[in-house]
Symmetry: C2
Subunit: 239 residues, 2 copies
């Protein structure tokens, strides 16, 4: 399949690399491909420059947000940070129309660790906006009514989302929520191809609130396990 | 041990009954014991009148908040609803001083289902206050600096907290957070006596934010499983 991944951060890279490994044609969208390739410094999360990373990952096409979305058969993964997602996606509304957009962003009010209110430990999440009575997933769906938004992936690090068997042999739970049954089915199919065996449909997109707010708990669990960054664990719904 | 349970709702009843079953002397605190016993209608959550319930549960002493707290050797379980907890506990500060207070309340801004903004489905939680940048657990600790507050129990229904083996043979995870190591140790000991084998210390009380905000996710998972009220499931941290 032709699949688009919007964004060039660590999570987006994990998905792009995994999708190529599964035999898909992957189109990565960025705001300005030339500027992305011109960067020679690690990005704000410490990832190597994208051009350098891309050279080691053949089979990925780097292009604009719009061209990547237009190239996708059905599935578009939103790896744009929560702070920028609504604006960037709204500007890409045309080519996204009719497609399934899987969103895993957390709506932090900051964009960079240096904006984080130290000495609060990393892991106690900074403020979320929206929170509690709305969610980023719902905001994106309202801004792009012609797109089928599915909230998923957000309850784990993306490294374990694309490789669930690396945690407890894969016996943990991934969640989907959204207002479009066919889009949730496609997302579940993608997750199963990643190796997921327990995908729980939480229901309508309003459940994105709980999934995004779980960021605090995810972070606290990581700290409780002594994993400061990039927690390597999952949660299993035991029933 | 002499253990106090503050509150007469369904969760508080589950703890009181279980503690008596484990051989403890249980003192249940309520605002006005005579008024509690005089009630002849089910409470706002549909539980049978407390006097009727108490008649079937010998070994429990019903008294005031203050007398119950004063009677406890060490452990006090806060089963007062989140809406009322800070005020009621502040009024009980004297006898609580020096004791371990285990708090499982969620700070909903409503007190009764009828106050819930229908037709939003039950299960999509109403507004939390505080949320995100503060928690009820931290509010209680600030209001009662002489008390050792532990946030726990809040990530499950109390029926499964007191009987973890009823879900998946008990192979799921309970969490504690707080700023007093000895109080967390006592809480963990109590949980182990309930049957818990995986109690994860998340760290300082600031982690109560994630535990309380998990209420949305807990509710959504219950819906996803087709369990509208009183969800019977747990979550296991797989690592």
């Amino acid at each position: 399949m032709k699949i688009a991944v919007l964004g060039t951060g660590g999570g987006a890279r994990a998905h792009a690399a995994r999708l190529v490994g599964l035999g898909h044609e992957v189109f990565v969208g960025t705001r300005d491909p030339e500027a992305t390739l011109a960067r020679s410094e690690p990005d704000m999360m410490g990832n190597v420059p994208y051009g350098q990373w891309l050279a080691g990952h053949p089979g990925i096409t780097l292009t604009s947000f719009g061209d990547a979305a237009a190239a996708a058969d059905e599935l578009v993964i939103n790896g744009i940070d929560g702070h920028s997602a609504v604006a960037a996606l709204t500007a890409t509304a045309g080519p996204l129309t009719g497609r399934t957009l899987i969103d895993y962003a957390v709506p932090y009010v900051y964009r960079h660790r240096s904006e984080h209110p130290w000495p609060t430990p990393w892991g106690v999440m900074p403020k979320l906006d929206p929170c509690d009575t709305d969610s980023l997933g719902e905001q994106i769906q309202r801004a792009l009514p012609g797109v089928k938004v599915v909230k998923s992936f957000v309850t784990q690090e993306q490294a374990t989302v694309v490789d669930p068997r690396s945690v407890g042999g894969g016996d943990h739970t991934m969640f989907v929520a959204g207002d479009h049954a066919d889009a949730k089915q496609r997302t579940t199919g993608l997750l199963e191809s990643y190796g997921w065996t327990d995908v729980l449909d939480l229901g309508p997109l309003v459940c994105a609130r709980g999934m995004e707010m779980y960021a605090h708990m995810h972070s606290a669990i990581g700290f409780g396990l002594g994993q400061r960054f990039g927690g390597h664990f999952g949660i299993k719904v035991v029933r």
